[in-house]
């Protein structure tokens, strides 16, 4: 994502890796358990909600990183990248939603919104950085 040159960035990347791992594990458990009918009733609701926990956790981790980052320029770059990610995700999801409504696009599962956001953030970060070279 970037060169991890300071402790705050290293801690952030490590925490995000753990969150991503939990996200993959919980998502796989939800897909396998619910889609294949191994888990039913109340437990299936719990299992379906479980992947949202690491998702929410990554936002907490990101907030903690922004508080811990002492390099104000890097903090500024990352905030801009996050705003670009939010804007691009909202624009794409809104446009896709209308296309779906008018039968011009296939259904997009809401579970794709979160990874889409981080993909946009990852793309935006170097682009935002180029403005300052």
């Amino acid at each position: 994502m970037w060169c991890t040159s300071n402790p705050a960035q290293r801690l952030y990347v490590a925490r995000m890796m753990w969150a991503a791992l939990f996200c993959i594990v919980f998502s796989s458990a939800a897909v396998l358990g619910i889609r294949h009918g191994h888990v039913t009733g109340f437990a299936s609701y719990v299992l379906a909600v479980l992947p949202a926990v690491p998702v929410a956790w990554t936002l907490v981790i990101t907030g903690a990183y922004l508080s811990a980052e002492k390099d104000e320029f890097q903090r500024n770059l990352y905030i801009q990248a996050i705003l670009c990610g939010v804007a691009a995700t909202l624009a794409v999801v809104t446009a896709w939603g209308y296309m779906e409504d008018f039968g011009r696009a296939p259904r997009l599962g809401l579970t794709w919104v979160y990874p889409m956001f981080w993909i946009f953030v990852a793309v935006a970060k170097p682009l935002v950085g180029r403005r300052y070279r």
């Binding site: 040159s5 300071n6 104000e72 320029f73 300052y132």
Partner: protein, 64 residues
Amino acid sequence: MKNRLRVLRAEREWSQGDLAKRLEVSRQSVNAIETGKFDPSLPLAFKLARLFGMRIEEIFSEEE
């Protein structure tokens, strides 16, 4: 904001990396400040001033 960072750094024969290390920021931050594309906060401006033994207004000036 205009600044004299590049000159002050050159006088001391410091690279951008050297200055970044002294300020505890990234080299990109120093470059962005030097080129006037990023204005530092007041605490960072004070840190720079202390490092060069000058007043803030001797390093930074308003663009006309």
